[in-house]
Symmetry: C2
Subunit: 209 residues, 2 copies
């Protein structure tokens, strides 16, 4: 700057370590993957609320806030689906860089695409397999999508007319056909508390551990 | 979920108001626009650090973290440039939704594209015009881009061979040809402190206002 003579402006970003120290916890991506109706979004939103109440910086990326905005230009062709997941992986990486625990809730059926998201996020990527069997998901069918897919009204529907490639080494597996929402949340909270090192609680120190 | 009988899972996102209450401040987008070498990124990174030190949730989106990741698939054609800015506007809106003050540092030369970003972010959008005149920017030319553009080695270079449309109603204008970095930062901090209502300071209450 022309007028700044003896002042050297700070020209680097606040470090991730600084962000972790201030937030009181590490950041990263909790990548939920699983069939439609497996419970991804139910668990993601409930986990977000629990973590928020405990003072974590946490945010959910799901169809609601991605498909209507950033990825509104994408349809459901194979290329567009791949680009959908690629962008989500990159945005999740930005949120992790900013100090958040970001939870993504998308079917993301292909291993290669999930691996790409892992590469974008680096070490801070945790693949969480929301593993309900197809029969259970099809019985739930809260949006009637399986019914439509069976009737041929939806093309390339994961589990019916398009493949789902289960994770081969997920960091956490939750079988929602066998576990209640509360039991799943307990495991998720335990996972986060053990993996995202807690240095101090934000807010009122009187209420801290 | 099949096993949850008497538990109604929370199926909505943590509200923006809840996030503001916890962070101690409102969230929104500080959209920096201006010519190459006007000082956008210098000011964005310095402001980020100042705000971070004051306990704000703050994050910078700039070429470094956008062009190498989310928008790595985009070139510099008119369509790609428009898509670049569109995506940045949508990602900024997500960060604002998550409780951040997000600072974007991109030339973003066209009014229509900035208006689109404003629509994505809603009320929480603040256009900050980093307004150095072309002569000043060309004299600075830290990356030698103006020289290359004058030599015809870069096509469609903003200010030389492509237009820059100045904001018509920016929320804040900073003329970096006349103001030092420190003076600009003072104005930016004053702007943020007055517009992003501070309810309480995070961290040690003893240090709070």
């Amino acid at each position: 700057m022309s007028r700044s003579t003896n002042i050297v402006p700070v020209d680097h970003k606040v470090s991730r370590a600084d962000r972790h120290a201030t937030a009181g916890h590490d950041s990263g991506v909790l990548w939920f993957t699983g069939l439609s109706a497996s419970g991804k979004t139910t668990l993601a939103l409930a986990l977000e609320q629990r973590l928020f109440e405990r003072g974590y910086l946490v945010y959910v990326l799901d169809g609601d806030n991605i498909r209507t905005g950033l990825n509104a230009d994408l349809g459901f062709s194979p290329d567009d689906r791949a680009e959908n997941i690629r962008r989500i992986g990159e945005v999740a990486a930005l949120f992790a860089d900013a100090g958040f625990i970001v939870i993504t809730s998308f079917i993301s059926p292909y291993r290669a695409e999930r691996e790409r998201a892992r590469l974008a996020a680096g070490e801070a990527f945790h693949e969480i397999y929301i593993a309900a069997d197809l029969g259970t998901c099809e019985r739930r069918d809260p949006k009637g999508l399986y019914r439509k897919a069976r009737a041929g009204a939806i093309a390339d529907f994961t589990g019916i007319s398009a493949p789902y490639e289960p994770p081969e080494a997920a960091e956490l597996i939750l079988d929602t056909a066998k576990l209640s929402v509360e039991a799943c949340l307990d495991r998720l909270l335990e996972y986060v508390e053990s993996r995202f090192a807690r240095t101090r609680r934000r807010g009122d120190p009187f209420l801290s551990k």
